[in-house]
């Protein structure tokens, strides 16, 4: 995005994020991952983690710490979100079955896409988030086709059809965005009130 005037530039760089605390949060996430990985490498460590619900407890702690660092200590939101998402994926899936790892990764991508679809104000970014969600569903289908039905791969067939429909959806959605932009000269989602009852 080009900066049109120095005033805009000032506005953006008005409150720079606290980078030291951001790195601190990344370090905490990394330490948590190392800790739970160290437990899981011991004999019977996976069972200890599962019986004590340690993965879910770590997930809660990482989330609360992330929200604290984001809002109380003014960290960079994207770094906090990325570190928290990646750390919670590692913490939740260390020592689990392969199928759970794949499905959890798909669920994480789906959740990120859902959040982005609701929060984004640029219509094209909303379409990108929808593509992300469709891809997460594809990962789910192919995981099931490998682990549950490896002989005749029905999940992959469904994934092919989803790919087709996603291509059509992207083309039509972007055409709609283009014609909206031509009529209203904005792609801000909050200004599209044409179809609002």
């Amino acid at each position: 995005m080009e900066h049109n005037s120095p005033a805009e530039l000032e506005k953006e760089t008005g409150t720079p994020p606290n980078m030291i605390m951001t790195y601190a949060y990344c370090g905490i996430v990394f330490l948590a991952c190392c800790f739970i990985f160290g437990i899981s490498t011991n004999a019977g460590g996976e069972k200890i983690i599962q019986d004590n619900n340690m993965d879910v407890i770590f997930f809660f702690i990482l989330t609360i710490l992330g929200i604290t660092f984001r809002y109380m200590l003014n960290c960079s939101p994207s770094c906090c979100f990325a570190a928290g998402a990646l750390g919670s994926f590692v913490v939740l899936t260390v020592g689990q079955d392969p199928i759970i790892k794949y499905l959890t990764l798909a669920a994480l991508l789906f959740a990120i896409g859902m959040y982005g679809m609701v929060v984004s104000r640029n219509a094209v970014r909303v379409l990108m988030s929808i593509e992300l969600m469709l891809n997460a569903v594809n990962i789910n289908l192919i995981t099931f086709s490998r682990f549950v039905d490896p002989a005749d791969v029905k999940g992959q067939l469904f994934a092919i059809f989803i790919l087709t429909v996603a291509a059509a959806e992207a083309a039509v959605g972007l055409a709609i965005v283009l014609s909206l932009y031509r009529n209203m000269s904005t792609v801000d989602m909050q200004r599209f009130n044409l179809l609002k009852w």
């Binding site: 079955d97 392969p98 991508l109 609701v118 992300l132 992959q156 087709t164 992207a170």
Partner: protein, 203 residues
């Protein structure tokens, strides 16, 4: 014989590869959402789709991995980036002005606005947690843990031309309809609306 797919999909290395792909793909996906520069987030989308295609390769679906690379990482991302270039936006200043509006409000309204903004995050977080808990408590016992590398492509081709031929044809019709519809929507509408005789009258 040296085969990359065999090495990568050995049980020891497979999980390591999955984590490496996750380390690349998840921050890129977050960047797609949070990056202030929309064009850059469009290019980050290529990284996400490439990571997902590598996951397909790990899951022994090489045909779908290549289709993913061709359709998503090249085709759809190209269309998205071109659309972004056509709709150049000034959303940054609008978001900044909204934040300034919030700063001018009284404290309790500020708190309520922040709560309202945190609601989508709460929904996404809860759905992720629910999916994970349902996955973890599920008994995955009768699973085929080491699926041997059967020739997927032959199975897919046979199924697409025999038992799934009708949906395949429907997909082609859908693509044609989407193509025509996209052209109709994106076309400039000035020449369609005006009748030639009316144009002459106006002149």
């Amino acid at each position: 014989m040296f085969n990359v797919l065999d090495i990568v999909s050995a049980p020891q290395t497979e999980m390591m590869m999955l984590y490496i792909i996750a380390i690349i793909a998840v921050p890129f996906a977050v960047g797609v959402i949070f990056d202030k520069n929309v064009i850059r987030s469009g290019f980050l989308l290529i990284g996400v789709f490439g990571g997902i295609s590598a996951i397909f390769l790990l899951l022994k679906a090489p045909f779908l991995a290549l289709a993913q690379l061709m359709i998503y990482a090249v085709g759809i991302t190209l269309v998205v980036v071109i659309a972004l270039m056509l709709t150049s936006t000034q959303l940054n200043s609008e978001i900044a002005s909204e934040e300034q509006d919030i700063e001018n409000e009284p404290a309790i309204m500020q708190l309520m606005d922040k709560t309202k903004r945190a609601f989508p995050f709460l929904v996404a977080w809860l759905s992720f947690l629910t999916i994970y808990l349902s996955l973890r408590t599920e008994g995955w016992m009768p699973l085929n843990k080491a699926a041997e590398g059967v020739d997927n492509l032959e199975t897919i081709g046979t199924a697409l031309t025999t038992s799934y031929s009708l949906p395949f044809e429907f997909a082609s019709v859908l693509l044609l309809a989407a193509l025509i519809g996209a052209i109709m929507l994106a076309k400039a509408q000035t020449s369609v609306d005006l009748d030639p005789s009316e144009v002459q009258n106006q002149e």
